[in-house]
């Protein structure tokens, strides 16, 4: 308990770091996943840009990378991170690798949620003479917004989990904190404090996500 009071400033700093890593990952991975998910949706059979070859390739790529356990993905992608970011460890490298992994996961969530949009609604937009950009921007994404917000909230929670794992190979944040000062010092109270903070963070974000989704669905 005494050690926790001593460590308190570092705990807060770790929490801020987690939020920072997860937020930036959600931004980059969110955009990457959205584009990849849109590409999957739009090239599917019967869709606006139906293309069997492109869909097949994207599908296989996502299927290859998505199931890799994150801790292995981190190690495997380290050379790429070093090449792009200039360093294989530290927060920027972690954010890069996390974003990459998250893109694949998010793409499936985006694809699934876009598929819930009634094809007839897209057809009505086409019948009105709208082009693809207008249909995607002003019909497809707004129609799927509620489920998309919930999907991204789900991903946020998963990213908190993944960022904690990243603490194992040199990323900062609550995972790293719990590992360094809790697990390795045989001080479960410190670990529990980190766990408690993570729970609070996840609850807050889930609450916010539900609220936004409700507004998007206007129910």
């Amino acid at each position: 308990m005494d050690s926790l009071i001593e460590l308190q400033p570092m705990l807060w700093q770790a929490a801020v770091e987690t939020v920072y890593i997860v937020a930036l990952t959600l931004l980059f991975g969110g955009i990457g996943g959205l584009l990849l998910g849109l590409a999957l949706y739009l090239t599917r059979g019967g869709a606006l840009f139906a293309n069997r070859v492109v869909y097949g390739v994207l599908n296989v790529v996502v299927n290859v990378f998505r199931p890799i356990p994150f801790i292995i993905f981190l190690a495997a992608a380290q050379p790429l991170a070093r090449f792009v970011i200039g360093s294989g460890s530290g927060n920027p490298a972690i954010i890069f690798t996390l974003s990459l992994a998250a893109s694949f996961a998010i793409s499936r969530i985006v694809e699934q949620n876009l598929l819930t949009v009634q094809p007839g609604v897209i057809e009505a937009a086409r019948a009105a003479g709208a082009g693809p950009a207008r249909i995607i921007g002003t019909v497809l994404l707004p129609e799927a917004l509620g489920p998309l917000v919930l999907g991204y909230t789900f991903i946020f929670v998963a990213l908190v989990d993944m960022s904690a794992v990243a603490g194992y190979i040199g990323g900062g944040g609550l995972g790293n904190f719990a590992l360094l000062y809790g697990y390795r010092q045989f001080d479960p109270v410190v670990t529990w404090a980190a766990v408690l903070l993570i729970i609070v963070l996840v609850q807050l974000v889930q609450f916010l996500g539900n609220w936004l989704a409700r507004r998007a669905l206007r129910r």
Binding site: V121, R126, A130
Partner: protein, 353 residues
């Protein structure tokens, strides 16, 4: 110039699996739809009518044949050109297909934005349209707050936003109850009469055809099997599938169990008489039977009104002297048929594909 001309239109889909035959949804259809008319296309689900209508506004590419809309060939146009064709053709749907993320106003505004109509014209246009369809007070409602009939009205307002000359209605009333159906049909009639818009109505409900179509085409297995003015097709259906459709809304000649039941209940000879405006007049039939000293009662059938013209088939149980009955039937000629007396062996007109 016809509003829409289809010539030998074919639409095939690639086979589901390798080696299977391609699926032919529309199989050599030729039709001419005149400007300002309400043209009905009726058929069972799978007859190809929904596919056909999607070829007219190029939501789907045509495999072969020619489609002219207002004289302009639309097969083979580029996607960008097709968008302007589509803006000139409104479309409404069975499931309404409103944008649930937009208000009623936003739904009607969508085609205006897509067509690049200047923003300062939107207000007036949308307000006019919503008043025309009777939803002036619902501009800020969301689609999920509306009833089915109201949703279809929004659909109609949205379809009319860009002042199209043609409106395609794909099973537009099939999801509605009978009362709402007649409201929506009345609105479509107004669209046709007041705005002069050519309407193509796709349906599997003969009632819809009966109440609004000037002319009708009957589709079966991707082909148009019969076409003509609605009154003629109703009063004198030629093809088996047409007869089947007609029998769903019009009581014709009794057959099978119906006929046996009638015969058990009524003495005398059963005679079916076809009544049609410009053909046989009911009064003449009754006077003629009286002249032959016969008494009769009407036991089956009905008289229908299609666009102000009447027709129908009445089955009479005629009693009296046998020779007199035969003489009367002979005098009525082709329009009267004596129904067979023994258990029915006659061809059932309303059966068989």
């Amino acid at each position: 110039m016809p509003a829409i001309t289809l010539t030998d239109v074919v639409k095939t889909y690639p086979p589901r699996e390798k080696g299977a035959a391609p699926l032919t949804a529309v199989d050599g259809v030729s039709l001419e739809i005149a400007e300002g008319e309400i043209f009905g296309i009726i058929g069972y689900s799978g007859a190809g009518k929904s596919t056909l209508v999607r070829l007219v506004n190029a939501l789907e590419p045509t495999t072969s044949g020619s489609i002219r809309v207002d004289g302009r060939e639309i097969t083979g146009l580029r996607e960008r050109e097709l968008r302007s064709v589509r803006a000139g053709i409104g479309m409404i749907f069975q499931q309404f297909n409103l944008f649930s993320s937009k208000t009623v106003w936003g739904n009607v505004e969508f085609p205006l934005k897509a067509a690049g109509v200047p923003r300062d014209e939107h207000q007036r246009r949308i307000s006019d349209l919503l008043h025309f369809v009777g939803l002036g007070d619902k501009a800020h409602a969301r689609p999920d707050q509306l009833s089915g009939g109201q949703k279809q009205r929004v659909g109609i307002a949205r379809a009319l936003a860009t002042n199209p000359r043609i409106l395609l209605a794909d099973e537009a009333t099939s999801a509605l109850d009978p009362e709402t159906t007649s409201e929506v049909l009345a609105l479509l009639k107004r669209v046709n009469a007041e705005l002069g818009i050519t309407i193509v109505v796709i349906t599997h409900e003969m009632d819809v055809i009966k109440s609004i179509a000037d002319r009708v085409a009957v589709m079966d297995s991707g082909r148009v099997v019969e076409t003509g003015p609605t009154f003629e097709v109703f009063s004198d259906p030629k093809q088996a599938s047409t007869k089947r459709f007609v029998s769903t809304v019009i009581a014709g000649t009794p057959h099978g169990d119906e006929l046996d039941a009638l015969r058990a209940r009524h003495p005398g000879v059963l005679v079916s008489v076809r009544i049609a405006e410009g053909g046989v007049d009911q009064r003449d039939v009754f006077a003629l039977l009286a002249r032959h000293g016969l008494s009769f009662e009407i036991v089956f059938g009905g008289v229908n009104d299609i666009q102000g013209r009447t027709f129908g088939t009445l089955t009479l149980a005629v009693t009296g002297d046998d020779a007199a009955v035969r003489a009367a039937v002979a005098e009525l000629g082709d329009d009267a048929t004596e129904l067979p007396t023994s258990p029915t062996t006659s061809v059932r007109p309303t059966e068989g594909r």
